[in-house]
């Protein structure tokens, strides 16, 4: 294995490890947008009454920590799909894994959070983002000679 491919693989793994927390953050941000502009503004209210705002942010993040392992699991699956197809599809694999991720988001929303637009949209967009990231990581690994 060459030096550049070793570096590329390390970067890809780092990107993989960071992707899920990033997507989770994105999901919370989308929920915040819907809550603020189409909901009861609960997050803003909680934020305004909390004595320790840092504690509230930590609570929101901690409250959903279960999501991160789930995102890693789905992310790994998407990465495997992308890896398997990247030789044949090239950069187009990003579109494919993005679509699969969005579909996963739709299924998860339907199963757990509900079918309302404010429940589906953050879930689908987060799935799309995760899928695209995994496709991009697979392209990166290939570019550095990892496949």
């Amino acid at each position: 294995m060459t030096e550049s491919s070793r570096q590329g693989r390390a970067r890809a793994w780092t990107a993989f490890l960071l992707a899920s927390p990033f997507v989770y953050g994105m999901y919370i941000f989308l929920l915040f947008l819907f809550d603020t502009f189409a909901g009861d503004q609960e997050m803003l209210y909680e934020y305004s009454i909390q004595k320790s705002r840092r504690k509230l942010v930590m609570q929101i993040i901690y409250g959903g920590w279960h999501a991160v392992p789930m995102l890693y699991a789905v992310g790994l699956l998407l990465l495997l799909i992308a890896w398997a197809l990247v030789k044949r599809l090239g950069r187009q694999v990003v579109v494919l894994t993005g679509a699969v991720g969005a579909a996963c988001g739709l299924v998860v929303a339907g199963m757990f959070t509900g079918t309302d637009i404010s429940a589906i949209t953050p879930s689908v967009l987060s799935g799309l983002l995760l899928g695209c990231l995994m496709g991009w990581i697979a392209c990166g690994i290939r570019a550095f000679g990892g496949t």
């Binding site: 819907f34 909901g39 009861d40 959903g64 309302d116």
Partner: protein, 484 residues
Amino acid sequence: MRPLFAILCLGLLLNSPYAFATDYVWVIGGGPNPTESQAQIESNVNWVIQILKKYPGRRKLRVFFAAGRKPLKDVVAWRPPKESSASLQPLARVFGDTMANGNHYYRQQVPDVVGSTDANELKKRLEREFSRLKPGDRALIIYNGHGSYNYSDDTSRNALRLWNNTHISARTMYRIMKRINPKVPVRFVFTQCFAGAFDRLVHPHAEDRLALGKSDRCGFFAVSPYKESEGCSPSVKVGDYRDYTTYFFAALKGRTRTGAPLPVNPDLNHDGTVSLYEAHLYALSQAHSTDMPRSTSEMFLERWQPWYLRWVDTGAEPDNVYGRLAREVAKNNGLPQSGHALIRAISARRRELVRRKDRLKLEKRSLKRVIRLLQGKIQGRIGMRWPGALSPYTLNFVHFLNKDLDAAQNFILADRDYPDLVAMQNRRFDINNDLLDINRDITQLNKIEHLRQLARLKYEFDRHASAQDRAWYHRLLSCEELPL
């Protein structure tokens, strides 16, 4: 043959464990010491006892109040002191606590008191009496007094503040209640500050978890485990009382505290009786106070909510009991009843109220400074003529009181700064009342949001809850829905 059959039936009935089944009610009240044992608590306890005695059905009352049967002054009442030399008000305004001069201490006048609430005594008595309950009996525990918060974040250590500055925490109360036969349904009403922590009494080992214990227990609380409650006013004006007890028991009595008809019918299912749950819903929707009451079934829903539903679809407006109450509270407060218009109106009103509150707080702070300054000036002038007045709790002060009191008070009344001092102290008193009113208004807004959240929780629970969770929830609800 018939008399023989009747005797046989009677014999069977008497031998059953449900024969002579009794409803027991423990009313526990009073403050931890004379200065914190306000007249409102005594008045509430007296009113509750009166309602319980007149309510249909037989029940045995056990009343524990402050110092109990000991001949101690264990209640404080406050009346605005007269602005005269005879009441020492000029001296109190310059040297002491203006409000404390209106305090009047006396021995409690609660009927049928069997003992003190001193934790050591109360614990033993409750353990003894609880262990005597048998299947078929029902227990109701009503607490009216002060509560404390445990800053370690372990709310099971939130406690009842009892006579002699003693405490019984939620965890200790759980241990005491272990003496009760699991087949005896137990209901409780806790109205103290941070009362929500006592919701743990329905969970095994008073732990912060969803599962319920073996026995049928449920309860109602004036506030969450993190909030202070109303109901500790030393004022004797009953019409001013806005605490949870006042509304909860008004619903059961069918009349308000002042004897007026209720603004709405609390009997929501129109079965002719008002259950404790209906009384709680009445208090939740009608009270204009700083309390945000909760029941064990509502706290169960909050505990149940999975993390992935916490912030999702917060604009939904399901049409269930809580959704309807949210609309009612919004309407009572002159707000749109639903939709984004309601949320915008709540935000705008909250902003306005918080601005007013901040302005008043600022004024109060600056008044405090000026009042101290004026007091210091007048005290200095008095000290030049009667130095003994500056040494309270000494013989010099006794001489001053005996010889120069009238002259000194006349001197104060004629002082050029005294009228300003009086005006500022009165303004400060008014500001405290205004702040309380603003806090009550803010609570109404919070209540609408809380009720909307509960409506969504109930809807989500009906869709997603497991069979076990549903069984637990219905156990709590059916316990809460029992009549008094």
